[in-house]
Symmetry: C2
Subunit: 323 residues, 2 copies
Amino acid sequence: MTRPKRPTSTDVARAAGVSQTTVSFVLNNRPGQSIPEETRQRVLEAARRLDYRPHASARTLARGRSDIALLAVPDLPIGASISRFVEGLAAALSEHGLTLVTHLAGGHRRPLTDVCAEIGASAVIGFEAFDDDTAQALRRAGADVVIPSSRERSATAPIGQFQAQHLIERGHRRIGYALPRHPNLHRMAEERLGGVAEACAAAGLAPPVVRSTDLEATTAAEAVVGWVAESVTGVCAFNDETATAVLAGMREHSLTAPADIAVIGVDDIPTARLANPPLTTISFDFDEVVRRRADMVVAGLAGREPPSAAVLFNPRLVQRAST
Amino acid sequence: MTRPKRPTSTDVARAAGVSQTTVSFVLNNRPGQSIPEETRQRVLEAARRLDYRPHASARTLARGRSDIALLAVPDLPIGASISRFVEGLAAALSEHGLTLVTHLAGGHRRPLTDVCAEIGASAVIGFEAFDDDTAQALRRAGADVVIPSSRERSATAPIGQFQAQHLIERGHRRIGYALPRHPNLHRMAEERLGGVAEACAAAGLAPPVVRSTDLEATTAAEAVVGWVAESVTGVCAFNDETATAVLAGMREHSLTAPADIAVIGVDDIPTARLANPPLTTISFDFDEVVRRRADMVVAGLAGREPPSAAVLFNPRLVQRAST
DNA sequence: CTGAAAGCGCTAACAA
DNA sequence: TTGTTAGCGCTTTCAG
């Protein structure tokens, strides 16, 4: 039960019969040092034999910078699609020797700055842009790069546009928007709604008829009444869960999609295809956005000006029966 | 763009006109040191004025132990309920001065041991028990406590039992089980299935009729055929998504729940109440389990023998129309 | 009650 | 090509 004291780089040096500096050079592939292959091997072999792992804190202390990136996940019921994003980002960063860990923002918990300082993150990555004050605070907490900065464009408005365009292309002239009641979602929902409004305007249609709903059939049914009263024939829902609620609300009135009202969601959650009828939705390809984020981090840490993030969630239409 | 060098505890000492040692004592509330209130205030005030934050790596290096706990989240489509768990755990741990960060396990990414070493975690917390080899490796990577250990009992079998009992109480004598096809879920699913089998046996019923399905109506419909052929009248689904698939499969055959087959899920995901018909399911209360996990970590770090985790997910029946 | 000093394990000048 | 040495910022024993 006692902790078997970890081998240090000095132990490795001793085992390999070289100085500790040499060990450091070898293990870090320090460029500009020509170390004979023979020595290299001896060191590597010793390190492996001892199961040596460099002590991260010591390294961080000495270098003045860690290899840790912190992903701040907002307290949103975003669901599973987020984990693909996280995984991708972690993989991309690890190719650059960076380790990604995640912190869930919600609740009355330790503020992000504390977490950042505590783990010694040298990069903090968020979903929505950090305002300048927060970014500043994070820098003071030890982060060298903080993204996205407030200069980046929003990522979510285009999604609303995309939804609305689909409906418009299919001939709908009166568009509704289903807003979720969950307060944490409001900001993002408003942005997407903005996109829908743009698309409507661009097509010469009236602005979308907005109704909000809980994730539950009764309030959704009320929203449906509102749309019917306004002759809405197609509604964009904030996400698939909201869309599912709309479908449930329609059922209460014996209305069916798409005949009475067409509905389109966002996210392509697993239950979307299981809805009744199966839900048309938008899915994302995170690969591109992940790569960009990773590049920004790496560039930033290298002191180069990070490429600005032309945000591309690469929305893709998943056509199913509900439209 | 240049990083405004962080204030060190020496800076604070200078500003407060005391030694750096005193600063350390004050900031850590070091017991057994009686520092005059006046000095204390001076130090605190200086620290606040400089926005001083102790350098975590330095502290870790000196103390030989960090205040970081790492939560290893398996690559499972577990969905949103997990985030409540994470939040709760983070809050509970932070009350003890520990910072929780999360690492998503899946993919071909850096192994957990590396992440553990990289961030200098002194505790690693998993969902399923770590086998002894892994636990050992994590200890070698610097973790002082690793839970759950292989000695803990499984948490998930009782859930299956709970589901089956509900069905049995409602008079069903022939039980089916819906297994998800997702490979990462198999292990957990088998455990829950075990619980269902136990409950059946205890009630003197035949073992459950097992069918597996994707999250999609066609394969679910095939599973339904299987159950019908075996005169199954109630099926326990691994989780709500699987249950939703079963419902969709039944629709394909114009069967309805609960008249033809009753179905019960697990998780109470948001779309469960929106299903057609609304899904009876099991929800969890993580509070207790969270508290226990946190206690185990704290006790373990303090060198005390951690209390063994009598696992209590506190399942609660959410009765809706599908049963 | 407070301070001086010795590290913690590693990196990076600078010597040799 | 390799080794010596001086810190990185903090904790902690041990004197004062």
